[in-house]
């Protein structure tokens, strides 16, 4: 636990700015390149937005826990909720050629993180594990 930073917020969109600030600080501390930090911020924000929208169906009174761990290879972000179990097979961004509102979050998450997976060991709720390697560390 020693090198971990852990932020717990209510599942209300107004707290997402705090997750973004923290993501930027952790990204810099991990020495992720300046140009990639903005993408990282967006990706973590989108993952938390999806928890509010899909796991909690818009209920703003639940909890979201975001944990960051820096390793020599990069940054690991783990997002926990107690909401509806996600079916990873149904999580898919929209076809980018099919213009409609929504369906971009998953694209933003996947283009930034090298590893995106739901922890199958989590009993109730979800644990999304995101890993971003430093350039050249994959």
């Amino acid at each position: 636990m020693k090198d971990r930073v852990r932020l717990a917020i209510p599942s209300h969109p107004r707290y997402l700015c705090m997750v973004r600030d923290l993501t930027v600080r952790m990204g810099k501390m991990t020495n992720i390149r300046e140009e990639e930090i903005e993408d990282l911020k967006l990706a973590v924000d989108e993952a938390c937005s999806n928890v509010i929208r899909h796991a909690y169906k818009g209920d703003t009174t639940k909890r979201i826990v975001v944990q960051f761990r820096i390793s020599p290879r990069g940054l690991e972000v783990v997002i926990d909720d107690n909401g509806l179990k996600a079916n990873p097979e149904l999580i898919r961004g929209r076809d980018l050629d099919d213009l409609k509102p929504g369906g971009l979050g998953v694209h933003f998450i996947k283009r930034t993180f090298d590893c995106v997976e739901f922890d199958p060991k989590k009993r109730s709720g979800n644990r999304l594990k995101l890993i971003k390697y430093l350039t050249g560390q994959l």
């Binding site: 969109p13 700015c17 967006l42 409609k100 971009l104 283009r111």
Partner: protein, 109 residues
């Protein structure tokens, strides 16, 4: 996020300042749809002071554009910061929205 309406050569310009995220995009949506309801031929959005946009903000503009298409209205984005332009490009929306460097560029016929 802060929204201000100004005008430029008798066109409405929506000037947005700050972060467009899941928390602020409902307000943007309300303002945008209210304006589109009046069927303006062109609507400008000034991005100069937008520091952040997430997928909910983008979805709001896609919804706005889809509301303008039936009557042939045009949604024009002006002064998009490079980082945000890159996001629109990645999402293949740089061809869907009309993107201009400045109001003067945008007004050129």
């Amino acid at each position: 996020m802060k929204i201000e309406l100004t005008s430029h050569s008798s066109h409405i310009v929506i000037v947005i300042t700050g972060e467009i995220d899941m928390s602020s995009s409902p307000e943007l949506r309300a303002r945008l749809l209210e304006l589109i309801h009046k069927k303006p031929p062109v609507l400008f959005v000034d991005f100069t002071s937008v520091s952040y946009i997430d997928s909910s903000g983008i979805a709001t503009f896609v919804e706005g554009l889809k509301g303008m298409m039936p009557y042939g209205g045009r949604l024009k984005f002006v002064s998009i910061p490079p980082k945000i332009a890159e996001i629109f490009g990645f999402a293949k929306l740089d061809k869907v929205f009309e993107i201009h460097g400045s109001m003067d560029d945008a007004l050129r016929p």
